[in-house]
């Protein structure tokens, strides 16, 4: 057990370090990997193209007879013969392989002499072959009787008519270039020109005429002026129709007799039958296509799971590249070690991919992506890797085990498959670890690059701010305002240059990573390696000496006749016959024979089984005297002749053919040897990597073994310069009470109103975070509309009575006394049992903590309440709240939420935090209603204006939670609201714009409550007393302000701006609702509008563009293409425009020039959360944190974590209040964060 644990830890540690390495040096590693892939794929170039390659079958020459036409295969017998080996072949091909050289070589011989006289012997040989007659008991047989008689050439080959035989035996020799006429040859001044006149100019895979006639690949023929080996080889190709063993035997014997090849070791034992398959039958194609379809479906479904990265396509491509190149590497490595694939590559390929699989890659991606986003990239990669290391290794071991089991089935095909799979798995692992991990790190780095760029260089580091909030649970200390708000002091701006110059960064980077040093080290290692490899004195010569010895041992006694003839021509290349000559035709293009036969309209590749049989070559050695060579010389040869190359030392020439002979020595290596070699190669690779790793990473990376655990506090995110912005954790005030996600937020600095999807509106004290009022869905209340104060008051009384059921603290404010009213209507709230917690009336319970310090305001509140008699004057309270809040920052809350219902005791400061949701939850379940959901919300003074989807406009009292008035003339939903002074402007879904004015009148007596409200004469006050009646009157309607729904509405400086989906903006004057301008310039729906007192108007649209307008003239000032996707929010400071888009980028633009200053990459889903605190302080939301940025420099000043990491949620929305508090929206709860109170600059 402990061993497993230790192993696990070790593996995890290794992967961690490896991840760090990969993420640290991505480019070198990718280059190295690419080199590895290329190196391993090199051997693949030699392989024929899959699918169309010829298939061979070898039978011994002895007792050969053509196979019967009808397969007599017995049912149970496993077939040895390939299925195409049926019937007689199309043709038998006999090659007479001539090697000739002029020896001894004289200095006065010319280069032309190397091949002129040897070629002239071809005519003689052809004559001998043609005239050969076998005489035996059955009579005489000439060549004409057994050879393949050909007829016409194809009509398109007229120009070859003189060169290829027609109407006779198919017999090819170099002499065909001269129509088999010796005189012509002797008269030809330019042999090479004649030979090459039919060579194609372009690259071509099919056989050329020269290849056809010579029968050997061009570079082996030796017919060249620059040939190093003065030896000419060519073949005379005979094509037989029938196999006549005696004739062939006599021909062979005669030629061998005439031209003996003394040192020939050719065995001539086997007959090779070659089947060319060119057309793939539909029956074979369908399963193949099916497997490929399944393969692609597998790849598609696998890569679809890649998520949360910068470029999905890029990573998917990388994954596929990983698997494919690992397969190529596997085939390449196996080929390198001598295993030629016999399986159809196209067929087993899909299975190999499926066996190797994309799973590891996906697991890696998922694991890396799920690490904390704010970590540094390296650490993320390292953590992701190490957390999955164990499972990866386990899977890998399992798969290897399974495959090894498969290997011991001893079925050759399965063994080969397993071999490929093993090597493929190992190389896939190698690529995953190096290639894919690195690509992933690059991708993730790209995602965070914007972030990294914004960070400060290290010398401009800020003094670390002291974390203020105690680490205790924040709910417990909610009531206490952070007593010592920490202050971020900025350095004088002279220290903080905008950006370091690029070259300085490069130098810093070099200096910090000691790159040069390491490069030199790596270079040294490589150099030593090269030295060892190419060492002239030691290893290599030794090896070279060893190999030939090994090779010659099993062969026949080499060169029996060489001593006799070697005497007089020792410096001349000897004509040697090695095993490679036996199958020289293999070196020809595999289209050689099909091309030849196709000239005579004979196709070899057909579904009907056809094949040709290649007879063993007849070796012919010609040795020519210099005298003969001189005799054959053409008179012109002397003139344009070049001196032949000086023969080098004989050893060089020897090395050539011998080295060639080494390769086939591996031909009989068994599968087991290959497997061992492959595994050894894999191990060497791993060792090499280990060494490289040691070389590259001598330093231990600060954090040892980061297991899968959560991010530790110590690991601060830091940038390339090692600078980590100060990070603090403060305990925010958590405002809980909403059951569903919060949709709208509004604040006027003192109060905060939020509305959730369920339609609940909560009013919070922006200072303390207390829930003042909850407004349920008004559709379930009976009283709605003007004049509801009376009943509301009753409800208030009832509630306060019930609220007093709990124990009260002694010595607190006097209990409220109300005149008795008889039993309150019981059915009033029967259907709304949770109302008790919605309206906050119990002001008697006070927080204990704040009590002794400042009892004064509460006391006064109590007094005023007592004085006011039946109607409790909230306005005073609210006014005082306002006054006090502006002055005393640490003031205790004036209003406390009551305990819901009679049961629970009054709240202690520890467990408050708004109305506890679990208490109100049973009744707060969302009930659909005809009233529609709340689409917009505005707050001013103590009045909340609510616009609903049903088109109803409601004005609520924020403190009492009562409906003051409503208006529902139009049924089109209110999409946006503006509440300015006493004016309400509502923009509607149908594009119309309604202007309302609020009229208040002080109520004199309760009797007047139900009366029609008269025209108000009281002065406008931001705070509406509860005793006032409020009426909202529709003053003006712009019926068709826009053709399409209005999406944005802002008002400032006496102007009202609307933005709509019809791509236009309109500017209205607030006083008389007169349309001043229609602004056109966007090519998409308007999504965000900003206007401020300086009459600067900015708008953003779905086209991702931002336009700046001059409201005075209605002209467009500038136009920027800001985002990929919609602009989601837009705000301005005096010097810049800040925009955020759907691409989760926040861009900061220069306001006057419209130039983009920089952009900030946001966390996913936090794109629109931004707020401007002051002219140079920007706050953005992140995953469970908020970050403060210096607007002018784009520097990250501080990141404040709100609470614990484990519950990190994206910040959806940020609202900056006047008193430097920030409201962050985390789904269904709000966080009230007191900014480290003011981030002030020192200079």
């Amino acid at each position: 057990m402990t061993l497993t644990e230790r192993l696990r830890e070790k593996i995890s540690q290794a992967f961690y370090n490896h991840g760090l390495l990969c993420a640290s040096y991505p480019i070198p590693i990718i280059l190295f990997t690419a080199l590895c892939i290329l190196a391993c794929c090199c051997p693949l170039l030699k392989l024929p193209l899959p699918g169309t390659g010829p298939v061979e079958f070898t039978t011994p020459v002895k007792d050969y007879s053509p196979p019967p036409v009808a397969p007599d295969r017995k049912p149970g017998e496993p077939s040895e013969r390939p299925e195409w080996y049926v019937g007689a072949p199309v043709a038998y091909i006999q090659q007479i392989f001539v090697k000739s050289s002029v020896s001894p070589w004289h200095k006065n011989l010319l280069a032309v002499d190397v091949f002129r006289s040897p070629l002239s012997r071809a005519f003689q040989l052809v004559e001998e072959v043609r005239n050969h007659v076998l005489r035996d008991s059955s009579g005489t047989r000439g060549l004409e009787e057994v050879c393949l008689q050909v007829t016409d050439l194809l009509p398109g080959l007229r120009k070859l008519r003189n060169l290829l035989p027609e109407h006779g035996c198919l017999l090819l020799s170099p002499g065909n270039f001269w129509q088999n006429d010796r005189e012509r040859f002797h008269a030809d001044p330019d042999i090479i020109g004649t030979i090459h006149q039919h060579e194609p100019k372009t690259l071509q895979t099919s056989a050329t005429l020269k290849d056809l006639l010579f029968g050997v690949p061009g570079k082996y023929s030796g017919v060249s002026l620059y040939a190093r080996r003065r030896m000419v080889s060519y073949t005379i190709t005979l094509v037989f129709q029938r196999y006549h063993a005696k004739f062939l035997g006599s021909l062979r014997a005669r030629l061998m007799l005439l031209h003996p090849s003394p040192n020939c070791s050719l065995r001539a034992e086997s007959l090779v039958h070659v089947h060319f398959k060119e057309e793939i039958g539909i029956a074979e194609l369908i399963p193949l296509v099916t497997t490929y379809i399944i393969l692609f479906a597998y790849i598609y479904f696998s890569t679809r799971k890649i998520d949360m990265v910068k470029s999905k396509w890029g990573l998917a491509l990388a994954a596929v590249v990983t698997v494919l190149s690992s397969l190529l590497m596997s085939v390449g490595l196996c080929t390198l070690f001598g295993l030629t694939p016999t399986l159809n590559g196209g067929e087993i390929f899909p299975y190999l991919v499926v066996v190797i699989g994309l799973e590891n890659v996906l697991v890696l991606t998922k694991s890396v992506v799920s690490t904390p986003v704010d970590l540094e990239v390296k650490l993320r990669i390292a953590q992701g890797l190490s957390s999955e290391s164990w499972s990866i290794m386990k899977n890998m071991a399992t798969e290897l085990g399974i495959i090894l089991i498969g290997y011991f089935t001893l079925v050759p095909a399965i063994q080969e498959f397993c071999l490929f799979a093993v090597v493929g798995l190992v190389s896939d692992f190698f690529l995953q670890m190096l290639f894919f991990t690195t690509v992933l790190s690059i991708d993730i780095r790209r995602m965070e690059l914007a972030d990294l760029n914004k960070r400060l260089p290290s010398e401009a580091c800020l003094p670390p701010a002291k974390p203020v909030g105690r680490p205790a649970r924040f709910e417990r200390q909610l009531a206490v305002r952070p007593s010592t708000p920490h202050t971020i002091t900025l350095q004088p701006s002279s220290f903080r240059n905008l950006r370091l110059p690029k070259r300085l960064r490069v130098i810093y980077f070099l200096a910090r990573t000691r790159l040069a040093q390491r490069l030199i080290m790596a270079g040294t290692v490589v150099w030593i390696g090269i030295l060892v490899y190419t060492d002239p004195a030691g290893l290599r010569t030794y090896l070279a000496a060893q190999l030939p010895e090994n090779q010659t041992l099993p062969g026949e006694p080499p060169e029996p006749g060489s001593p006799a003839e070697g005497a007089h021509d020792s410096p001349v290349p000897e004509v040697t016959w090695g095993p490679e000559d036996e199958e020289l035709w293999r070196k020809l293009s595999f289209r050689h024979w099909p091309t030849l036969f196709s000239y005579y309209n004979i196709t070899l590749a057909k579904r009907v089984v056809r094949y040709i049989s290649l007879l063993p070559v007849i070796p012919v050695t010609l040795r020519l005297n210099p005298r003969e060579a001189l005799e054959g010389r053409h008179p012109q040869d002397g003139r344009n002749a070049w001196p032949p190359r000086r023969p080098g030392p004989g050893g060089l020439w020897e090395a050539g053919p011998r080295a060639l002979g080494v390769a086939p020595a591996h031909g009989d290596v068994t599968l087991y040897k290959v497997a061992a070699l492959g595994l050894a190669a894999g191990m060497v690779l791993v060792l090499l990597l280990l060494c490289l790793y040691r070389v590259l990473c001598p330093r231990n990376y600060g954090q040892p073994g980061g297991g899968p655990g959560r991010r530790r506090r110590g690991e601060l995110p830091c940038d390339d310069y090692g600078y980590a912005p100060p990070e603090t954790e403060i305990a925010p005030l958590v405002l809980r009470g909403h059951l569903m996600d919060i949709e709208c937020l509004a604040s006027d600095g003192m109060l905060l109103v939020s509305c959730c999807l369920a339609g609940h509106v909560c009013v919070w004290d922006a200072q303390t975070g207390d829930c003042l009022t909850r407004i349920p869905r008004p559709g379930q209340r009976r009283d709605s509309g003007v004049g509801s104060v009376f009943e509301a008051q009753e409800s208030w009384e009832r509630l306060s009575d019930s609220g007093k059921g709990g124990p009260e603290e002694p010595g607190d404010s006097p209990p409220l006394r109300h005149r008795p009213r008889g039993p309150p209507p019981p059915a009033l709230f029967g259907d709304q049992p949770d109302l008790t917690c919605l309206i906050d009336t119990n002001f008697s319970s006070q927080p204990r903590l704040s009590e002794p310090t400042q009892p004064e305001p509460r006391h006064r509140a109590g007094c005023s309440r007592a004085r006011d008699g039946p109607g409790y004057d909230f306005s005073r309270l609210v006014q005082r709240v306002y006054q006090d809040d502006g002055l005393v920052p640490g003031r205790p809350p004036a209003l406390r939420p009551s305990s819901p219902g009679p049961g629970p005791p009054p709240l202690t400061p520890e467990d408050e935090g708004g109305c506890p949701p679990e208490k109100g939850s049973p009744c707060l379940a969302w009930v659909p209603s005809a009233d529609g959901s709340i689409w917009s919300l505005e707050l001013q003074g103590s009045l909340i204006v609510v616009g609903r989807s049903s088109g109803r406009l409601e004005v609520w009292d924020a403190i009492e939670g009562t409906l003051r008035c409503s208006s529902e003339e139009v049924t089109s939903g209110i999409t946006a609201l503006v509440f300015l002074d006493k004016r309400i402007v509502a923009a509607r879904l149908n594009g119309s714009l309604d202007f309302f004015s609020l009229e208040t009148r002080t109520a004199l007596s309760p009797l007047q409550f139900r009366g029609t409200p008269g025209r108000s004469s009281s002065p406008a006050s931001p705070v509406y007393s509860s005793s006032d009646t409020v009426a909202c009157r529709l003053t003006h309607t712009v019926p068709c302000a826009h053709q399409k729904p209005i999406t944005a509405l802002k008002a400032a400086a006496g102007r009202l701006v609307t933005g709509s989906q019809d791509h236009t903006l309109r500017v209205f004057r607030l006083e008389d609702s007169c349309c001043l301008f229609t602004l056109q310039g966007h090519s998409g729906a308007i999504t965000a509008v900003y206007i401020d007192q300086t009459m600067v108007l900015a708008s953003g649209g779905q086209d991702g563009a931002i336009c700046l307008w001059d409201v005075l003239t209605g002209s467009r000032v500038s136009h920027m293409f800001a985002h990929r996707g919609d602009v989601t929010s837009l705000t301005c400071t005096t010097s810049c425009v800040i925009s955020s888009g759907l691409d989760d980028l926040i861009s900061i633009w220069d306001r006057s020039t419209g130039i983009k200053l920089y952009s900030i990459q946001q966390d996913l889903g936090c794109g629109a959360s931004l707020g401007v605190i002051s002219d140079n302080l920007l706050v953005t939301g992140g995953q469970g944190c908020v970050s403060f940025w210096d607007l002018n420099y784009g520097d990250l000043l501080q990141t404040v974590y709100l609470g614990k990491n484990s519950e990190a949620q994206p910040t959806r929305q940020i609202l900056v209040l006047d008193n430097a508090a920030i409201v962050c929206n985390f789904g269904s709860e709000l966080s009230l964060v007191y900014v480290p109170s003011v981030l002030e600059k020192l200079d």
């Binding site: 077939s79 497997t291 067929e347 079925v411």
Partner: protein
Amino acid sequence: MAEGETESPGPKKRGPYISSVTSRSVNLMIRGVVLFFIGVFLALVLNLLQIQRNVTLFPPDVIASIFSSAWWVPPCCGTASAVIGLLYPCIDRHLGEPHKFKREWSSVMRCVAVFVGINHASAKVDFDNNIQLSLTLAALSIGLWWTFDRSRSGFGLGVGIAFLATLVTQLLVYNGVYQYTSPDFLYVRSWLPCIFFAGGITMGNIGRQLAMDFFTESKFDLRRTVMECSQDPHFLSYGITKRCLMHKKQKDQEARCSQ
């Protein structure tokens, strides 16, 4: 089996692709049809593999037909696969142990690929003797089950299917409907049970995945609603997705009420 399907979760968990389909039986039918066609397709392809190697011999005139196979084989395989594919999730539900192992389409695809590979091996790889071939294929089939299924019910059902199918094949061959070229296990090849076992596991895998897809709400629904709601002016404001959904549900309910 039919009762098992009717006990499936209510329509509110219906998948998006068949949002117009309300009744469970229609849902069942769709899955059955999909499975049937998969079975037919696989049968055709795999039969082609066998015919290439002359493993099975059908009467010569039938070979000339377009599918190179007897007409009744693909429908039979399709029906069998439909039954198996529906049976697996049903049994899972009855046993009360929902299948949790590797529920992804990519895994299913891998499984299908391995199954085709097993068939391929049985048809194309030359083995020394039949016992070796059968043992290898049996090991591969068990490996398939271990890799992609790992449930006891799956194993049991697979074995049952293999037994039944082999029995049926024996009967068919006995009655001379078709024959194998070199029978070594009574009248059939001895690897046939392994193939049937692997096929059962594969079809079960597909069936389970289909059942899961049809009974869970996928992202698609959300996306489509959001697309529809993008006409809503507040699309761009925060929280639009949820609002859209709420709004839509509300509308739906209203519409239902008015009806």
